[in-house]
């Protein structure tokens, strides 16, 4: 399963002594079974590791087993990987045991979730998957480059947010066209062109417009409207925008800008 060039995060269900059990709802995802010891031997953890045990007490007893997991999590470059502890049951009196488990992950507490019972495990795992997916789009070293920051000023309102009207102008399109491409009504876009709700959708346009660090305004519009044999069906970049494929085009534009071989 993939969406816009990304993949659902893989899940590993790990048990203390036996391989973990994959719940039915997880079978449609990329889920594998392992023991906690298997995970400790791996060079990297999957993006989501679900550690299953009867209750917190059993895991506290496994303290030394958790330390290698912490070190792997700390050292791997994928900062979005998360651990979900899934207990068959737990009791409020066992809170101190959860504190003890969390203590095995100093500095990484925000990447650890606890769940008790089947329903909570499902919710906690979905939440962890959502956070992993969201974090994939946060890696944006280009956003730190001075020329890129300067070039995006023209797309922003005075409050710093991306402004749909300004973006439409730079891309040489009407507000109606832009609204159609990102599936929002022209009225709402016109009323609040820098609304918070629009920001994620406008962000891909901002990534594309970074090309203006090396192209003049006219050259940028020519590039947008010229058929490109590196794109699907030799389409012009504007064709991608019209078909709602701004994320794919933004990835292409970033590779162009950073000279990444393709």
């Amino acid at each position: 399963m993939n969406t816009l060039g990304t993949k659902m995060p893989p899940l590993a269900f790990a048990g203390l002594k036996m391989p973990g059990r994959i719940p039915r709802w997880a079978q449609e995802f990329d889920a594998t079974r392992a023991t906690i010891a298997d995970l400790c031997r791996a060079a990297r953890l999957p993006e989501i590791s679900v550690l299953q045990s009867t209750g917190p007490r059993q895991l506290v007893g496994a303290g030394p087993l958790l330390q290698p997991l912490f070190h792997i999590l700390l050292e791997q470059s994928n900062r979005s990987a998360r651990v979900v502890f899934g207990f068959q049951r737990s009791d409020p009196k066992e809170l101190f045991r959860l504190v003890s488990i969390l203590g095995e992950f100093p500095g990484l507490e925000c990447r650890v979730e606890f769940a008790s019972g089947k329903d909570e495990l499902k919710s906690a795992t979905f939440e962890a998957m959502t956070k992993v997916l969201a974090s994939r789009h946060k890696t944006d070293p280009l956003a730190q480059v001075r020329s890129v920051i300067e070039s995006s000023q023209i797309l922003r309102a005075s409050n710093g947010r991306l402004d749909a009207k300004k973006i439409a102008k730079v891309f040489g399109m009407s507000l109606s066209e832009l609204a159609g491409q990102i599936n929002v009504s022209k009225q709402s876009m016109s009323k609040t062109p820098d609304s918070l709700a629009l920001q994620p959708k406008l962000r891909e346009y901002e990534r594309i417009a970074r090309l203006r660090t090396e192209l003049s305004d006219v050259e940028f519009k020519i590039w947008l409207n010229t058929p490109n044999d590196n794109l699907e069906d030799g389409d012009a970049p504007i064709g991608y925008l019209k078909e709602g494929a701004s994320a794919s085009l933004a990835a292409f534009a970033e590779n162009m800008m950073t000279g990444a071989p393709t």
Binding site: N2, L4, T6, M257, T262
Partner: protein, 191 residues
């Protein structure tokens, strides 16, 4: 029937790889536009952004190089129809295990055709192309650290050249990748 890319990667022919010449033109290379990135900017964008590219889906941390200065320059030029002043970065590398698509047996193992190396990688639908599926499967195992594949830019010029994509998490000592600019080492994997 959908291919089991992980199984194919696990059973693929592999080889070792190194580029450690003193001559920069024989090393791995990457050019970026000087207009976009002046020298005062730390080139973090170069290392591993997780941006979608030919051999990786979005979110997989890896870095791409052209093999040799000529291929790197051809890749840089292939995007543009005007000459730009560029900044060059180079890398020395020694890897124990890579997938090499110059090898016909490796291509056959994955049933890849020439078109798989030249087709547009940024699809409108967001569907992954076979090389991206392979890159994703590589990112999930622990022995293969890179993929070497033909350069489309060099093909366009009627020349032969290769690119290398290196997966950050999979470079383990004694293997290494060292990126430098001039005499300065900018980044070394593993750190």
């Amino acid at each position: 029937m959908a291919k089991n890319w992980q199984r194919l990667v696990a059973t693929a022919p592999t080889r070792s790889y190194q580029r450690t010449s003193e001559n920069k033109s024989n090393l791995l290379g990457r050019y970026v536009s000087k207009a976009s990135f002046d020298k005062g900017t730390p080139p973090d964008f170069l290392y591993a952004s997780g941006n979608l590219n030919r051999c990786n889906p979005a979110g997989v941390l890896c870095v791409y190089f052209g093999e040799g200065a000529e291929t790197a320059r051809a890749e840089f030029d292939s995007y543009r129809n005007k000459a730009l002043v560029e900044l060059g970065f180079f890398a020395r590398i020694r890897l124990k295990t890579i997938l090499d698509f110059e090898n016909a047996k490796t291509r056959d193992h994955f049933q890849l055709k020439n078109r798989d190396f030249t087709r547009p990688y940024a699809t409108k639908s967001g569907d992954l192309i076979p090389l991206q599926e392979i890159g994703y499967a590589v990112s999930r195992q622990s022995s293969i650290a890179a993929i070497r594949y033909p350069s489309k830019a060099m093909m366009k010029k009627g020349r032969r050249g290769f690119n290398l994509v290196v997966f950050q998490d999979l470079v383990k000592s004694p293997s290494y990748l060292e990126i430098f600019e001039g005499a300065n080492i900018l980044r070394r994997w593993p750190s």
